[in-house]
Subunit: 178 residues, 2 copies
Amino acid sequence: MTIERFLTRSQGQWRSMRSAHSLAFRQFEDVLSHIEIVLLSADHPDVSDILTRESIDPATIFSPFQMSWEAESDWEPDDPSATSKGSCILIPIPENDRAGKLVRSVGYAETESAASTYHFLDDDTFVLHTTYGQSIAEERIWFISEHVRCRSSVLRTSAGSGVLQTSFASEVRRIATE
Amino acid sequence: MTIERFLTRSQGQWRSMRSAHSLAFRQFEDVLSHIEIVLLSADHPDVSDILTRESIDPATIFSPFQMSWEAESDWEPDDPSATSKGSCILIPIPENDRAGKLVRSVGYAETESAASTYHFLDDDTFVLHTTYGQSIAEERIWFISEHVRCRSSVLRTSAGSGVLQTSFASEVRRIATE
């Protein structure tokens, strides 16, 4: 599995069921959302901006993409601000076919630029490690069929090994007729 | 990682948060439960019974264990039958350090004896495939710290590749003073 193949399989629109587990409080949070993954050209202006700001050589990047998400369950007609939505641009910098770095414009847990490292397990599970200011996230994404992906995440304190939260999402591809 | 090391790490009492995703209906089911994993001796009477019934050579097995679970959220004082609990005995038959078979007295999805195959990924994630009468289950279990495990499962129709349900559990070890 290469990042190119992984992203080609991932592009499109997905309906997500996501459950977050707050371990200390034993609380569940279930969210339905829509996700869209669009591959971008390497000379897309937003990509160029990030490369300049982060001092990244454009020759080292591969297959940048944009991921957008919008929660369904938070949607309230009278309060547009309640909608949980967002978008970020991600830029892979492969080191080899199985591993590399991933630069993103906005992290999940904190609203700052974040650098991640990724690698593939021997069954082609995609594993992503991201260090934020106060926490470390590990995500895993694996396809269980052409149109269904699973995504798990673990959020730890960066100071120690304490696990703050886990989450799991089932992502089903939306077909064109919807 | 060997099955011996994996089971040694797994034995004990765990508090589980489990979310099941019904993909067709987009429904969530969240359950709090207790899990206990106890290693059994190879000559335990219940183990011997299974070996005899399944015509398994006792010399091929390794580290049988019992797993018991009981849901918290279903517990109702006036209706003991509402409690979701159960127990099964599992008997590993290793083929090598990284793979083998697992015989269980009772399957999760159907109340019949089930044979599974297991293997470890290169990051020591335990992967279990079980074929039931009408469905195929794939489970993954991985430790994210000494006292926290993650467990994901996918349930498919055995006839095709349709995904019926996914689930994810966060399992936190119970300490002795609880």
